[in-house]
Amino acid sequence: MPPILELKGVSKGFGRAHERNAVLRDVNLTVNEGDFVSIIGYSGSGKSTLINLIAGLLKPDTGTAKMDDSIIQGPGPDRGIVFQNYSLLPWLTVIENVRLAVDQLFPAMSEQERKDYAAKYVDMVKLSPASHKYPKELSGGMRQRVSVARTLAANPRILLLDEPLSALDALTRATLQDEIAEIWQKNRTTVIWITNDPDEAILVADRVIPLLPGREGATLGQELLVDTPRPRDRKEIIKTTEFKDLKIQLVNTLLDAKKESAPTITKKLSTPDILPEDLGKKRSFTLFERPAPRRRSQLAREELKIEVP
């Protein structure tokens, strides 16, 4: 059976010619049906670019991104994305947000079936009591659950989670990690979870792959296998030596890569052209003019004439 997702020698950059900013280089990734993969990397190292490539929202510059042995042509409902910032539509209620996906993807169902189907997914993320609330009335964690419900309701073959929990506080994050892992255990959908949190990566996934930064773009490093049995008990696992070893190994890999890719400054830095207010000076009162800040460039040069006898 071919792997569900296969990236071969994928690279991606933005901008043209000498201004080109390489983000990813030579990325190779194989994901089999039912895998739970987490990709961990620094902020701004190209994680979202990678997920956009898999989703089909971006096209690789070189290399191939294949799903089921055919090249990914564009986005589609078979690869559901949970975005970092939820991207719920604020003018729709929770259930309407889910219905948007359901109505679009299952036109054959009857109205009642679709209603029940959407309600089932809202229930799965434990939001039934809030199903008629608008996103602005929900907390961040609840919003992200709606987003998960909407994505799952589309019944995707691959679930792509782009730093889904990074905007949440640590406690909410832990709860949601457990919940999403639980849902995965029931459905066994293929999951690619992108994160910047080593604990999260090891806790939720079976395969943890670091995204290592480099001068010519980031690339995927050696993967770590997490063979802790499921369901995982967070409180127990974080005490085990396996967990600690994995974490140290992962953090070291990432730190070493960062050191090697030591940032080269390409931008010319300049200090702001402004001087602190001279409080000793007496302020003259003007009605229509705000006192403008003193600029270094406008500083009057004082010239002293010294007469040499």
Partner: protein, 294 residues
């Protein structure tokens, strides 16, 4: 003093004080009549009325009120084509504004969408829009007259019900009021977050569905800001239009009363225009607030 702020009396009292100051200033500047009786050379008694004051022809607040009373107290009276209650005039103006405004929205919204969606469309049409936008209604009206010259729609009895001047009036209101709608819609469409569009892409929504389910709801708050500003301009334009084509309405009434030397009615018209404009604006911002999401 505490009670004063608790009841938010300052919100009522301060405007009242300001209004009183303005009326006081008006009373100071305005002229007043003095009637003198004297015996002329022929031995007859003659009464002579003379006006004095800084601006002697400007009617004072009380004179204005006395002269306006029949129009205000019977606001819907119709004593003749050009002598109607002030609200009846306002209603005629509002009807014309509503028609022109509707045309402005129907034309302006799609243009705004095209501008927001297509960079090339924006590049092509932005200069034209920027040139046409500041043109005064006074300049558009004659063009409208030329554009629709010869147009005449008659009812069964042969009376003209829609002529060149009506068409020109609508044209002027529509073309002047359109721009805020066009520009705000364009900004609103451009401001639709990429995330929402990504959702549409992942779900493979059709073009029409993306328009109605994502773009329009997302741009709606901006669009309503445009609609509100457009309504303000439409109401602004109506006076100029009515003055030029001599249609009955608040603006027409104002001009006609100026020509008839009854200056008090000019002030009445100005106040009416202002108050109605304010009410329209408030009403639109209430609607606008309802559509504000997130």
């Amino acid at each position: 003093m505490k009670l004063f702020y608790q009841l938010k009396l300052d919100a009522i009292l301060l405007p009242i004080i300001a209004i009183l100051i303005c009326v006081g200033g008006w009373a100071l500047v305005a002229g007043h009549s003095k009637t003198t009786t004297k015996v002329d050379d022929w031995g007859d008694t003659v009464t002579e009325t003379k006006r004095f004051g800084l601006s002697k022809n400007l009617p004072s607040p009380t004179e204005t009120w006395v002269a306006s009373k029949p129009y205000v107290m019977a606001p819907f009276a119709k004593r003749g084509e050009l002598d109607q209650g002030i609200l009846r005039f306002a209603w005629l103006s509002l009807k014309l504004v509503a028609q022109g405004y509707a045309i402005a929205l129907i034309l302006g919204t799609p243009i705004g969408f095209f501008l927001g969606l297509s960079k090339n469309f924006t590049r092509a049409f932005d200069p034209i829009i920027q040139i046409l936008r500041p043109v005064s209604p006074l300049a558009w009206l004659p063009l409208g007259m030329v554009l629709f010259s010869g147009l005449k729609v008659m009812d069964s009895s042969g009376r003209s019900i829609f002529g060149t001047s009506d068409a020109a009036a609508l044209f002027t209101i529509a073309i002047c009021a359109m721009w805020p709608t066009v520009l705000n819609t364009a900004v609103g469409v451009r401001a639709v977050p990429q995330d929402y569009l990504n959702v549409a892409k992942v779900l493979k929504l059709s073009k029409a569905k993306t328009l109605f389910k994502i773009l329009i709801p997302s741009a709606l708050p901006y669009m309503f800001t445009g609609f509100r500003l457009s309504l303000g301009i439409a109401w602004l334009v109506i006076v100029a239009v009515e003055m030029l084509i001599g249609k009955p309405g608040v603006g027409g009434f104002l001009w006609q009363q100026y020509n008839a030397n009854s200056y008090a009615h000019i002030i009445l018209s100005i106040l009416t225009i202002g108050v109605i404009g304010y009410i329209l604006d408030r009403a639109m911002s209430l609607i606008e607030g309802r559509f504000r999401t997130a």
